[in-house]
């Protein structure tokens, strides 16, 4: 997704009166982000609101975030806000609430399906840094789903972790609950 496209999308969403913040990623990406979306990033929110800074259009550098991740984050948060508004509007109407819920579930399923394992991991770190609770919960749930019924070797490979148990330690771990290490999905 070219960041030009994202910028256009973000700008199209913003109304004339919506303020934007300029965010720069570590690999040179530049994004104009709507204030409501940017305020979902608690790291920014506390920077402005808690610190009592005046909201002006200075550019903010995000040292731990790359363009690809930021564009995904913006996409998710923008839609999350939309769903939030739709949900509030549907409050009290069970059918409408259900429809919004299903729509959201559909979007989230598609969103996460498109993410490679590598991308999912990078996003988690980025979102953890930006401190976006709702998105982090969603990504964590997705990671948990991806390691469900997988072997220990698969999980290590997924997260790029070296096995630092000695053979005796591993043996002992297996002995304690041998049954849990059988019957996993093929790697």
């Amino acid at each position: 997704m070219a960041d030009d496209g994202v910028n256009t999308k973000v700008e199209a969403v913003s109304k004339a009166t919506t303020e934007t913040i300029e965010l720069r990623t570590e690999d040179g990406g530049v994004f104009d982000v709507d204030k409501p979306v940017a305020m979902e990033f608690l790291i920014l929110k506390s920077f402005y609101e808690d610190e009592g800074r005046v909201f002006d259009k200075t550019s903010i550098r995000l040292p731990n975030v790359k363009q690809l991740e930021l564009s995904k984050v913006i996409e998710y948060c923008t839609r999350a806000l939309e769903f939030g508004a739709k949900s509030a509007a549907a409050a009290g109407d069970k059918d409408a609430e259900r429809m919004v819920r299903q729509e959201r579930e559909g979007f989230e399923a598609e969103f996460v399906d498109e993410l490679s394992n590598e991308m999912l991991k990078e996003l988690i770190l980025a979102v953890n840094f930006l401190d976006i609770k709702e998105m982090l919960d969603f990504l964590i749930r997705s990671v948990a789903n991806r390691i469900r019924n997988r072997s220990v070797a698969y999980v290590r490979q997924f997260f790029d972790i070296e096995n630092d148990f000695t053979p005796q330690e591993e043996d002992q771990i297996h002995q304690e609950n041998a049954w849990a290490f059988e019957g996993v999905d093929a790697d």
Binding site: L125, A144, N149, V155, D160, N163, A178, W179
Partner: protein, 393 residues
């Protein structure tokens, strides 16, 4: 940026593990590396109630030290170390992941097959109607008294097989919890209980004959009789208090079960219809389940209302403490079903032949499917019918 996941903040690791809903996944998570192992507790506290396993009958051909369990969630056989396995023992309860085992002694033992922890309950000789117990009185080791004051004698085996129908627990005894065990007595229809630390069993006299099934629901024991009337027992004080809720007689089934779910307000009653079947091969007759019906209590009445669907819930009934689980966490399990096992000791004594009566009853169309794991055995054992056990560390 190369991502070093062993350096992940502890809270993120904990969050990931908190989203693992199946115990086996949690165990494997803790086996990845030292850092992960130490960042989450050994015994998880967040797991939702797990889908039960079916403890398969003890067979002599199997290794003596292991017992086979069918894991419904993973659709696989698991072998657990279980050196206590023996055809001389009887399991008469499965509650919160603990089995209640009786053998040819007065001992009453709780064991968790997953953790191998054991808890002793007061022995059979401490029931108020047991006058005496003596190993040297061979064949009539126990002397019991009837309500009219007569005395009769029972052997070790008779006591093991027919004294207690079922035992349920209010909660898991793990961690020295203040659990309460409640036993339904077969011969007399009495209910008796003991609390953690008690030295003997106490009768709940006013609940006599409410002996079809018992369940622990919102800190009270609910016991049901054949007609669906309920005895609500509060044993928290110094002596038990019972209130009776009479309901109109609404069922035609042969066995009633009570079920509830942790997060539900609802109390369910499941009635099981049996038919006598001829085995044309050996000319034996035995019982087979033909259908179930499910009812929900309506406290305004009070009466039981028929439910035609359980939604995404599935029930597990049999010799265990009935389970009601939502299947949304468990894709391998279909909702709106009743998974059942053999469970009729009063019927069983004469008819100890034939297959075990177990399967999956589907409420949507009334059909019964066999359980995927079970293989026919021509040697049925009274002491070993399969039983549902919740893996509960």
């Amino acid at each position: 940026m190369a991502v070093d996941w062993t350096q992940l903040p502890g809270e993120l690791l904990e969050s990931i593990s908190n989203n693992l809903t199946i115990y086996a996944d949690y165990l494997r998570f803790r086996s990845v590396c030292h850092c992960w192992r130490s960042s989450v507790p050994k015994t998880p506290r967040h797991l939702p109630p797990q889908l039960p396993w079916l403890m398969l009958p003890h067979t002599r051909s199997q290794s003596q030290s292991h017992r086979a369990f069918f894991d419904v969630s993973a659709q696989k056989i698991r072998l657990l170390k279980y050196p206590e396995s023996s055809h001389r023992k009887r399991c008469c309860g499965s509650s919160h992941g603990w089995l209640l085992i009786m053998d040819e002694t007065p001992a009453v033992l709780l064991i968790n097959p997953l953790t191998r922890v054991k808890v002793q309950l007061p022995p059979l000789s401490t029931f108020p109607i047991v006058l005496s117990f003596n190993y040297s009185e061979i064949g009539k080791e126990y002397a019991l008294t009837t309500p009219s004051g007569d005395i009769y004698r029972c052997s070790l085996r008779e006591m093991r097989d027919s004294f207690i129908k079922k035992v349920i627990l209010s909660m898991s005894p793990a961690g020295d919890n203040n659990f309460i065990a409640l036993a339904i007595l077969n011969l007399t229809g009495d209910l008796a209980f003991c609390k953690n630390g008690d030295e003997s069993w106490t009768f709940i006299h006013d609940a006599k004959f409410f002996s079809e099934d018992v369940i622990y629901h919102k800190e009270l024991f609910y016991a049901v009789d054949k007609n669906g009337s309920i005895a609500v027992c509060d044993v928290s004080g110094t002596s038990p208090r019972v209130s009776i809720i009479k309901t109109p007689s609404q069922f035609g089934g042969d066995i009633q079960y009570l079920a509830n779910s942790e997060d539900d307000e609802e109390l369910l009653l499941v009635t099981r219809y049996l038919d006598l079947v001829n085995d044309n091969v050996d000319l034996n007759v035995f019982f087979k389940t033909v259908k179930f019906e499910v009812f929900r209590i309506n406290w305004n009445g009070p009466l039981w209302e028929r439910l035609t669907s359980l939604g995404d819930r599935t029930l597990f009934v049999g010799g265990n403490s009935s389970l009601s689980l939502s299947t949304s966490d468990f894709p391998a399990c279909s909702g709106n079903c009743i998974y059942f096992t053999d469970d009729y000791c009063e019927f069983n004594e004469e008819f100890a032949f034939g297959d075990y009566d177990l399967g999956i009853f589907k409420l949507c169309d009334g059909s019964i499917e066999p359980l995927p794991c079970y293989r026919r055995s021509s040697h049925s054992q009274i002491h070993g019918p399969p039983i549902w056990v919740t893996p509960n560390p």
